[in-house]
Amino acid sequence: MLIRRPDDIKSSEITDESVYLDRRRFMRRAAGVATASALAPAMLLPRSVSALTTDSAAKSPLLDGVIDGPFSTDEGPTPYKDVTRYNNFYEFGTGKRDPATHSGRFKPRPWKVKVLGECDNPGDYDFDDIIKSHALQERIYRLRCVEAWSMVVPWVGVPLGPVLKRFQPNSKAKYVAFRTLFRPDEMPGQERGYLDWPYVEGLRIDEAMNPLALLAVGLYGRELPNQNGAPIRLVVPWKYGFKSIKSVVTIRFTEEQPPATWNLQAPGEYGFYSNVNPEVNHPRWSQRRERRIGDILKRDTLMFNGYGEQVASMYSGMDLKKLY
């Protein structure tokens, strides 16, 4: 069913989820959209999709009903080809092209997410159960990798906070732990031991509830390609990319700070928080600058990747040089 909406909606109009889920309005709109889409489909897609250049690479299916979400940057998005063919996903190999090349056997459906720990609604949730009661939003975020390169990615997803609230975390839930699928048959990198599989990551509960935190299910208006963390991944744009764990199968509410894979691998190099911070260098390389994919020269890295307005207050009083 077509539930696409035009892209001239202000973010203030789309934050009210109940209005969006009002079935009658929704159907009326859908009917209108369906007629119009036959005439001018490109006009009705989220803004990033119409910016897609046509290349021969196979693309995943379009997502329906994507509205423009808040916090989007107006910086030019990194081309689809680069977002999907240059990234780290060590489950498929350590090279930047490995995820695109070696993720063909990966099966993102059917998909269940196990929810457990300090919450009142634990259980096995089907992918659709997690997503369907939330409107899909497009959010164009900067992504800063710890390796000093960056991108602008038009994600599609749902805010993490409201999803987590449905599981009713209790008062002991101080942290949220995430785990990636472990399936070496489909993820060839997992047959080698350069990281301790399965990949795990975690956030403090207030970080997870921050309105910036996104559970992404797509990019460029399409379902997430396998190599970008299909079918569901975290996006926390004020932290280095490796915190945004991919292909999530477990969400656990914990009282203690949960383990995080890169932090375990090299605690002196990758902290639990791993907020983007140009003042704290990685012990082996500088974090002052970054190369935006598509640029030749590097640019200055911004504190919290430029999202200080949304997140800085969560860290007031913390020494971010020690708690990097």
Partner: protein, 218 residues
């Protein structure tokens, strides 16, 4: 055409052309836009990688000549060494221009604070005297013995290159460890005891000549 002429007119130009293939591929891929999403990273990695490969290839020349008895190998060693320097220069220039953009403060901080850059920069500096003294005139001026002593630095630079590579890897150490293994074998082959054994692998009776050749080889 005798053997000397063949080496000078065919073999050396052929190896020269072959050594330029990595650069040609890089330029070609840049031209057709196939350097990937991060072309600067690709250029940096490729030029550095080939600099290191040529350093190691150069170190193969002498042991290989001793084992095989192919004396002509000595005549291409200088060219291979200079190609190592050439690719390392391209690697350094990529850093200087495209990464640091001549920002002296940034470069100094890198050299003092980042071990892999300290190592890489030192290696680059050590290669300069080797390149400068590579001409026949310089060999004569220094004298064979002093020249040989100086050019033992080639071993240090190869080790520096491998460590420079190893130090920046995040998790998968395979490739730099392969280089390190090859380098260790080359070091072993240089131990006097093993070097003589290797020379004796060839037809008996020629060992005297080979040993003499080793003494005069530069």
């Amino acid at each position: 055409m005798n053997q000397q002429q063949f080496i000078g007119r065919v073999l050396k130009p052929a190896i020269f052309a072959l050594a330029l293939v990595p650069l040609a591929l890089l330029v070609w891929n840049a031209w057709i836009g196939e350097l990937g999403a991060n072309p600067i990273e690709t250029i940096t990695r490729e030029t550095g990688g080939w600099g290191l490969k040529f350093l190691i290839i150069t170190l193969f020349v002498t042991p290989l000549r001793r084992i095989s008895g192919w004396q002509w190998l000595a005549r291409i060693r200088r060219m291979l060494g200079l190609f190592a320097f050439f690719y390392v220069c391209l690697h350094f220039l990529t850093y200087l221009v495209l990464d640091a953009f001549f920002d002296l403060r940034y470069i100094l901080e890198d050299i003092t604070d980042r071990t892999y850059i300290t190592l890489g920069f030192t290696t680059f500096l050590l290669l300069i005297p080797l390149a400068v003294t590579s001409t026949n005139a310089m060999v004569r001026r220094l004298g064979g013995q002093r020249w040989r002593r100086l050019h033992k630095l080639a071993y240090v630079t190869a080790a520096g290159g491998v460590l420079h590579f190893l130090w920046q890897v995040k998790a998968d150490l395979r490739e730099p460890l392969i280089y390190m293994g090859v380098l260790l074998l080359l070091y072993l082959a240089r131990l006097p005891m093993l070097a003589d054994r290797l020379a004796r692998l060839r037809a008996p009776g020629r060992e005297e000549k080979a040993s003499a050749a080793r003494r005069v080889a530069i």
